[in-house]
Symmetry: D2
Subunit: 139 residues, 4 copies
């Protein structure tokens, strides 16, 4: 039984905006979180590509969940800032996100998220990469 | 008649993800775009605050629309990267975004977005600030 | 007598790298710091423009000094992260930096730095803009 | 004979600010650049750690040199923006930087730089990580 993983699982799923976007949790271990979104028309920007805001949301939330696996009971994380590079116009059947912790810490946790677009042949193409700074605070 | 403003108005509204989030256009002039979202439960993260992804989406899309007011016919903009600082846990009746152009350019346009949360007394509190780099390409 | 301003003045001047670059303090008040560098060949990159690293150093250090004006005795600030947009190839007789605090805080202070190049006619052209996140810790 | 590698080697070494800081080129191949600085007192900030500006300069310049290995004759790169996370207070005998290309492109090249501090036992500790956006232009 691991209460940090349980709390991370709860945090990932309970956020209404994450449910609204259809984000789903794929993998969770200490310092690691994988997730995905099955892409629909609602996720698009004006030219039919996946909106940067969708990629940013998945990158931020998956990073935050990876951070929650490392905090203590009674603590929570809030995103202090993030930066995302949109590397390619994103299209595909799903958006897949892999987040890992670059630097754990008592006050600040730094995470990286790689966002991939699943292609017709099932391959994953890297479409964006984010660095996320999370502040650890008491609930 | 100004075709750049018309195109910016179209770009703001036609993006399905922007409609899904309830983003609305408030003001548009050369190099300036204002917008807002009436906040609902769907915009929240796990602790009841506005999700960083909602703030990022509004900051990015409003910045992009401000950039579209400056491009020529047959061109479009794509976000190359952005960075957002979440300054305070955001709560309120609406999220308001003001975007301006820091540096116009033929290849790259740099915009800044300030995101405010409207409080019960109608005042606006700055909750996040983003810098957005937009790449100008031919359609 | 204001010990925070005295400490900020000390921090600005005592850093060996800042002395090596010729950075000078121009103005200091609560939450504000201005500085400049008289430009020499040593500040250039390969094409004769001011190196991005010089602009970043001045932007970071001036922001940090502005933050020090707001902390308590026995505390210090360390840069957690910064992001800088180089808006134009920078040339001129001097680099001038204006830093202000976007958001004070007990744990994190967010500052912005605007870097200008002084032209032959003495006018200032904005060449870069940075957002700096500073962590406040006990000495 | 590879003119892009020759040009990258030239760009790394010819920049006066890079010489002034003592940056040295260690490895160069298509899309990859490694460099280091032997640390001296001049590289320190006010508390005796390596100044963020030194880390940023090495991260930016090594990333730019990695990008130059990928461009065509008659082109050059200029840093459009970068973001750096300072992960730990940096101390040691040398600063070592490894830069790789995250995404090549005709207009924009995105690079990542990892900066390490060499410890007394010769091990390398990651002290900062940067993402650098480089604009490709004609000379």
């Amino acid at each position: 039984m691991n209460s940090s993983l349980d709390e991370a699982r709860r945090v990932f799923k309970v956020a209404p905006f994450i449910t609204a976007l259809g984000c789903q949790l794929d993998k969770l271990e200490a310092g690691v979180c994988h997730s995905h979104i099955v892409l629909q028309e609602m996720h698009q920007q004006q030219d039919g590509f996946v909106h940067a805001g969708v990629q940013a949301t998945l990158a931020d939330h998956t990073a935050g969940t990876a951070a929650v696996t490392l905090i203590e009971q009674g603590q929570r994380v809030l995103t202090a800032e993030f930066k995302i590079n949109l590397l390619r116009a994103a299209k595909g059947s799903a958006l897949v996100c892999h987040s890992t912790i670059l630097k754990p810490g008592r006050m600040l946790i730094i995470a990286e998220s790689e966002v991939y677009a699943r292609q017709a042949d099932n391959s994953l193409v890297l479409v964006s990469k984010a660095t996320v700074t999370l502040a650890v605070t008491n609930k």
